[in-house]
């Protein structure tokens, strides 16, 4: 048995060829090998969602995947949501509506919200809440997050999600 496995994957449009140990988690390769520390590690057992990335267009927990299993995949991390140093409209909305406090859950929340708005451009508040229920915010700042996603949706409620 070789101690490493060769893999090729694209992260935010950049192709990487790597040798990974089979036991390495995808999140550790993203952060430690590729230096993309926007993706956070929280619980390491699939509960908190802060490590969420897009794998071939779908949200997944990068702490619940072996890097070896991502061979051939296209991955988008939070760094890939916008070009360069600018913020995309979703990120702007998080800033505008104070959708973050300590920021630890933010990368996962952005990836979840990004997918939600892609699938459903005008989600109801209930649909937003259901989508982000996949992820935990230990500041319990959910209200701001819900408002931020609503704001970004540009739905009828855009800018007018009632504050509580």
């Amino acid at each position: 048995m070789p101690t490493t496995v060769p893999i090729a994957l694209a992260v935010n449009g950049i192709r990487h060829e790597l040798n990974v140990e089979p036991r390495w988690l995808l999140v550790d390769v993203i952060r430690d090998t590729l230096g993309l520390t926007g993706t956070h590690i929280g619980c390491e057992h699939g509960v908190c969602g802060t490590c969420t990335v897009l794998l071939d267009g779908e949200t997944v927990r990068s702490c619940l995947m072996l890097a070896a299993g991502a061979d051939g995949a296209e991955i988008v991390t939070v760094e890939g949501l916008s070009g360069g140093d600018s913020l995309n409209p979703l990120q702007e909305a998080f800033r505008e509506a104070q959708g973050l406090q300590c920021g630890f859950c933010t990368p996962g929340m952005l990836m979840i919200a990004h997918e939600l708005l892609h699938e459903n451009p005008a989600p109801s508040e209930q649909e937003i809440r259901e989508a982000i229920s996949a992820n935990l915010c230990r500041c319990t700042g959910y209200q701001g997050i819900v408002e931020a996603v609503g704001l970004a949706a540009g739905s009828a409620r855009a800018g007018g999600v009632p504050a509580r």
Binding site: H45, G46, L55, T59, V60, C63, G69, S133, A134
Partner: protein
């Protein structure tokens, strides 16, 4: 934490996987979607010497409509089943139950076969497969056998799978005409495992009486529990009033729920009774529209 070391095998064909599993025996664990196994590895609760990653075996991911039902490949992702028009048409209760399984990112990776083979007693899918009287195909090198769902679940996290065997397919038989199905559950938070859940399939005759019932519960025993007493109580009756009360009582009596910090055994029994009523009533109502 991080997973311990293991030998890693990623076969691209079923034959290759079965040969590996035959050679490795109980040294090896099968890695499907990983949504249960990877946490166990991260916690170092599982220490397999080898992992056989079946995610590259594309032939194991499919939903096929046959003349008598559905055939679902073990590697089919839960979210694929949830969205499948074929599943919604032929076994809508299955799509309904998938929505309760974890959250979307979990269902993107989690597989039908993985959830069944993991056999968590609180998991939704085993109970639904028991209610549907699904048949599970277990393959080993040069041989296959078919096991009814009810016989597959042996105990908590324990199935009829033997070393060297792989769950490859689930066959879900079509239900009779005028059958409605419903899955309902309660969990503390959306996406958590159920404190108690009920899958019900109710077939009505032309006069609205119950001529066939299949009821299975999750979260209230070491395996999914088929509530045969409750099914019998409904036969020949309109699924409402006293017959529904009796069925719900019998279903609750058939459970042996755990007591833990999430809920006492008594509470779970009450949930089982309540949700049996709800699932049967909902299934019967849907049967009138089918």
């Amino acid at each position: 934490m991080k997973p311990p070391r293991f030998e890693y095998h990623a076969p691209r064909a079923l034959d290759e996987a079965l040969a590996l599993l035959a050679r490795q025996g109980d040294r090896a664990k099968v890695l499907a979607g990983g949504q249960s196994l990877i946490p166990l590895l991260n916690f170092r609760l599982a220490h397999p010497e080898a992992l056989v990653d079946i995610n590259r075996i594309d032939d194991l991911a499919y939903v096929r409509a046959n003349a008598d039902g559905l055939a679902i490949g073990a590697l089919t992702r839960q979210h694929t089943v949830e969205r499948s028009e074929t599943v919604r048409e032929r076994a809508p209760i299955l799509a309904e139950a998938c929505r309760f399984m974890g959250h979307l990112p979990i269902r993107h990776r989690g597989t039908i076969g993985g959830s069944l083979a993991h056999a968590d007693p609180a998991s939704e899918l085993p109970a639904v497969m028991v209610a549907l009287e699904a048949q599970l195909t277990l393959a080993r090198e040069q041989a296959r056998r078919t096991v009814p769902a009810a016989a597959f679940f042996v105990g908590p996290l324990t199935t009829a799978l033997e070393p060297g065997e792989l769950l490859v397919e689930v066959r879900v038989p079509d239900q009779p005409r005028r059958t409605g199905g419903a899955f309902v559950e309660m969990s503390r938070r959306a996406g958590d495992f159920a404190l108690a859940g009920v899958a019900a399939l109710i077939t009505l005759d032309a006069s609205g009486r119950c001529e066939r019932a299949r009821i299975a519960l999750c979260g209230v025993g070491p395996t999914p529990i088929r509530a045969r007493g409750a099914e019998t109580a409904l036969l020949g009756a309109t699924p409402a009033g006293a017959a529904l009360d009796e069925a719900a009582s019998r279903a609750a009596a058939a459970t042996s729920p755990p007591s833990d910090l999430h809920g006492s055994a008594d509470f779970r029994r009450k949930l089982a009774r309540h949700f049996t009523r709800e699932a049967v009533a909902m299934a019967a109502e849907r049967a009138t529209r089918s």
